[in-house]
């Protein structure tokens, strides 16, 4: 009743336990902040939206993989993905991502662990790792990070217990947002340097509104493992746009793998939500990840951030209507029409790429192989990275609708040019038995 409302209004929360830099168990934080904790735990929910969320698929647990529920397989939904990733672990197992509660298990038990030997680096984004890093580095976060990177995954895995938890985003005494991930700290420093800003320190220099996106950018980004130290690096030294990231990889002469069918030195793009969001109108308007994925909700007289991080389309009134006057159904329709258009172009780009891969496969066996084979392979690298940059981005274009369509359009152009590169020029007749005869008679 209204009486309680007024009571709550006076004192939103009071602390019952003390929290330190060693407290990584979210349940303990939950004693002070039960409302946020309750929502946080609800990330186990699996609800599917038209293009997002995730579907709970039953499976019979095995010794090797005790999970009784997983998310739907993306490579079964669209087998063209297996052709794009031929020769790489993703062709074996790639699923729709689901809530934060699952991040540790899904990483531990994915088939990708079996077909390839993964480093401890992986845990940077799948576990509550502030305390483990500091332990491993004897109080030095970065040293701990480097130690983890060089361990085999299985060994490193033993040192972590929780998925992302309170301490990964919050400073325990003030509850201020805090960046805990070396990958992001170093990535932002490189990015700002490219813009002429010297030794940028995200925890010192970022505004509060920026932090509401940066805490997510700690993990929802494109990345690679650099050198034998398997250091986690965010490829931002030239900027966040797809062409700037590709240029970075080209100068580093980096490839994720050699394509099994075509021999092209290809790359795998991974969840560049932060990079794409940066190219969109919402970022430009100062709208943060948390504004949409952790909107304020009223609990009695206080407003809290919804810690049930999920698709905003499951929560449109809080996520969108604070800024947009349109009805829930209209806002849903607007988001889905952006996603539908993106998916349509993504499918055209996928077809073009698959056809290029087919042509390259044929061309390699031809004798003599076409002179432009290398150029065509480099065009596959380009077309594929551009396509995957949108494919791997999990909003189906919503975070930056125009940028997504621009990238897909260019991807189509690269793929088709690759096909053209290894075909004889137009007007040159296909050599036919007959025409050959003629030429022979001539030479006689």
């Amino acid at each position: 009743s209204i009486f309680e409302h007024k009571q709550e209004a006076r004192n939103p929360f009071f602390r019952v336990v003390e929290l330190t830099d060693q407290t990584d168990d979210p349940a303990i934080w939950g004693k002070n902040f039960p409302l946020q904790y309750d929502d946080y735990r609800r990330t186990i929910d699996q609800v599917r939206t038209r293009y997002g969320g995730s579907e709970a698929m039953e499976r019979t647990p095995t010794q090797a993989d005790p999970r009784s529920v997983v998310a739907q397989s993306r490579i079964e939904e669209d087998p063209r993905l297996k052709i794009m990733w031929a020769g790489y672990a993703f062709a074996k197992d790639f699923r729709e991502e689901r809530g934060h509660a699952y991040m540790l298990d899904d990483q531990t038990y994915t088939e990708r662990q079996k077909v390839a030997q993964q480093p401890g680096t992986c845990l940077h984004c799948h576990a509550s790792i502030v305390v483990p890093y500091e332990k491993a580095g004897n109080g030095d976060l970065v040293k701990g990070f480097e130690k983890f990177n060089q361990m085999p995954f299985a060994e490193a895995r033993k040192l972590v217990t929780h998925p992302v938890a309170c301490i990964d985003c919050h400073e325990p005494t003030t509850m201020q947002l805090r960046i805990s991930r070396p990958g992001f700290i170093e990535g932002m420093r490189a990015l700002k340097a490219s813009q002429g800003i010297k030794d940028y320190d995200v925890n010192r220099d970022a505004t509060r509104q920026e932090m509401r996106s940066f805490v997510c950018g700690q993990c929802h980004v494109e990345y690679y493992f650099k050198g034998p130290e398997k250091r986690l690096v965010y490829p931002w030294a030239n900027g966040l746009k797809v062409e700037q990231i590709l240029a970075y990889y080209d100068t580093e002469q980096f490839k994720d793998w050699t394509h099994a069918d075509t021999g092209a030195p290809v790359l795998k793009a991974q969840h560049p939500e932060f990079e794409m969001w940066n190219q969109g109108i919402h970022a430009r308007s100062g709208v943060s990840c948390a504004d949409c994925h952790m909107p304020y909700k009223r609990e009695g007289a206080t407003k809290i951030s919804d810690h049930h991080v999920r698709s905003p389309l499951l929560n449109i009134n809080r996520s969108c209507q604070t800024c947009h006057k349109w009805s829930e159904s209209e806002l849903l329709a607007r988001a889905e029409s952006i996603q539908e258009r993106t998916l349509h172009m993504r499918n055209l780009a996928m077809d073009a790429l698959v056809e290029l891969i087919g042509d390259l496969k044929a061309a390699r066996t031809a004798n003599p192989p076409p002179p432009e084979l290398d150029r065509a392979q480099m065009l596959q690298r380009k077309a594929q990275f551009y396509l995957d940059f949108v494919e791997a981005e999990n909003s189906y274009g919503f975070h930056a609708p125009e940028e997504a369509l621009r990238i897909l359009g260019e991807s189509i152009d690269f793929a088709r040019q690759g096909q053209l590169a290894i075909r004889p020029a137009t007007g040159q007749p296909v050599p036919q038995a007959s025409s050959l005869e003629d030429q022979c008679t001539v030479t006689r």
Binding site: S1, I2, R298, N317, Q321
Partner: protein, 164 residues
């Protein structure tokens, strides 16, 4: 879109009046029973009949709108009731009774859509209020229709009363 020609025209005083009077009187003598009435008095129901914006902000759910109004260009020229209540004793106090009584009810039960959205009828009241003060400015453009929603001011000036 906010505006639509089909939106049939403004309040029908004839039918409303009786209903209104009933409610208004009922409230005035506080003989209505139940939470609504309890809340009404608790939330300084009497101040409903004043033009003090604070009266509205007795409800914390109205707090944001008060804050947004304070930031708006109309802060110093129009209070809540200037925009949210129609002129004329009866309809004015009916609307106040609506905000006071039904909002009290909604507030107490917590059964309302968040974020709070203006209802079409209330929007009509507001649209009429714009014209009350700005007739001279808009007489040339505000032509040829009997529904204030047909030519919506708030379609463009959505934040004159509340600057977020």
């Amino acid at each position: 879109m906010v505006e639509s020609e089909n939106a049939e025209s403004s309040i029908k005083p004839a039918t409303s009046v009786t209903v209104l009077l009933a409610i208004v009187l009922a409230l005035a003598i506080g003989s209505t029973v139940g939470l609504g009435a309890y809340t009404f008095t608790y939330a300084h129901g009497a101040s409903y009949f004043s033009n003090d914006p604070a009266a509205c902000a007795n409800c914390h759910v109205m707090r944001d709108h008060l804050d947004a109004w304070v930031k708006s260009s109309h802060r110093s020229v129009a209070t809540c009731n200037d925009c949210h209540t129609p002129p004329g004793f009866v309809s004015k106090y009916f609307t106040k009774a609506d905000h006071g009584f039904f909002h009290s009810l909604a507030f107490t039960t917590g059964a309302f859509h968040e974020p709070i959205q203006i209802k079409e009828r209330s929007l009509r009241v507001v649209e009429a209020a714009c014209r009350r003060c700005h007739q001279d400015v808009v007489h040339q453009i505000d032509t040829g229709t009997t529904s204030p929603l047909a030519m919506s001011c708030t379609r463009c000036h959505v934040d004159v009363g509340h600057m977020n």
